[in-house]
Subunit: 267 residues, 2 copies
């Protein structure tokens, strides 16, 4: 099966920002439990909304989530200091979100990742900004894997995020992303390929339909992890069906279990 | 967008066989109209259930369907004689279903296809049976395109069906099929790639979920036509989302139109 990072505890969501500001532990706990029960393998925790208090906010959120569930966390911050503090507050397996191919930031974060035995998301962005073509995504992925290796982080701890861009404004970006995933896989770096889905459907109706359709496509091209809302039942059903179809779920054991639990929906 | 062949008027369905036997034109008409309205580009007509009367049955069904809708037909029969009779009874554009790489049958059917300016489905089966690997599928596709060319049928009139096999019994078959589609595309023959989906989910629950997930995957790998039930609304919504995501629907015009018509479902 693929690795699911639950995206809901992100302070860019207004309700999460409010819960952090009010120290509403009950809200955070419920979000954590619901995502864990829906099958998340990691829970993203982002408390960057109030920059000046990010470290305090993040440590509080991590404390609440770790009391509620045993699911590993994904420390999500633009700040190397917040990532360091988050790693210190976290027990067990952990994912860091994120570095890019930009050297300065990566060189601050990768030693933290290595010392903690953590995993790290690498966005295919470079000094010159966002990638447009599949080949740019592949080249940036290679740069990130090389950077990680130089800092002692092995390829199988690196999760390359090839950066989904909206098809509503540039219709070729769906295809460029998918071919990018395939090219990163074919390059044989040994890194995982992850993505946050929801950008692809920006500006279009029925975003969940587009998200789950794109997830199936990306899995066929080599994706093995995704940052998603695990409470989107149809998306999770698509993911489970995808694993059964791609030999990522031997004898369809997990698919059949999800069916028995009623998690595959009504048709 | 991709080419949709509506599969419902097939005498392997008990209700269709009964309607043919009873000359129930109303049943056939309703199935034809419903599939056309749901967006089918071709309507499959198969009347092979009563072998001894296949030609009479097929001509009757073609007559009823052509009176009801203007959608082109797909003449579906194992018998070269029935295909010849069907082509004669059909007006306008038409698809023949099917040939394989087996020479004797192909050499009977291809001249009919050429003389009629028809299109033809080519199943990737050879003298030695069903393909197992992606490479076998690609090689059989090439054989079929070459056979067609030798009989004056151009590659863009050939629809290669790479033969979906159930993942419940052989879990690698989903992946082998998908890689086969990709390999057929990459071979650059100029042929279309089509498939009948429903075999993939044989023996598993929630077959429609598996079908539409597999359709999205196959589209990402290069599929541009499919033999499906166009009354499966979620499958058609997935197909439309897939076209928007793969630059097969410029500016998402058809996707947005389907949304306005309520054809994309509720989320």
């Amino acid at each position: 099966v693929i690795t699911i990072v639950g995206e809901r505890l992100n302070s860019t969501r207004r309700a999460v920002a409010a819960a952090i500001a009010e120290r509403d532990a009950d809200f955070v706990r419920k979000e954590a439990v619901a995502q864990a029960e829906a099958g998340a393998d990691f829970l993203d925790v982002n408390a960057a909304a109030r920059l000046a208090q990010e470290i305090d906010d993040l440590k509080w959120m991590i404390g609440v989530v770790q009391e509620a569930v045993a699911t590993p966390l994904c420390i999500d911050s633009p700040s190397p200091e917040a990532i360091a503090a988050g790693l210190e507050a976290t027990r067990g397996e952990v994912l860091v979100n994120s570095i890019t191919a930009e050297r300065e930031r990566a060189e601050q974060i990768l030693p933290l990742v290595r010392d903690r035995g953590a995993r790290v998301v690498g966005l295919t962005m470079g000094e010159s900004g966002m990638p447009s073509t599949a080949a740019q995504r592949r080249d940036l992925a290679q740069e990130i894997v090389d950077l990680a290796a130089r800092h002692g982080v092995p390829a199988d701890h690196v999760y390359i995020d090839a950066l989904v861009r909206p098809v509503s404004t540039e219709s070729a970006q769906g295809r460029e992303f998918l071919e990018g995933v395939r090219a990163i896989r074919d390059a044989g770096t040994g890194a995982h390929v992850i993505c946050g889905l929801s950008n692809v459907a920006f500006g279009l109706p029925r975003r969940r339909l587009l998200n789950r359709t794109f997830l199936a496509m990306a899995m066929a091209m080599g994706l093995d992890a995704a940052i998603v809302d695990p409470l989107d039942q149809r998306l999770m059903a698509t993911m489970r069906a995808g694993c059964a179809l791609l030999e990522m779920d031997e004898f369809c054991v997990e698919y059949l279990a999800a069916h028995r639990e009623g998690a595959l929906g009504d048709e």
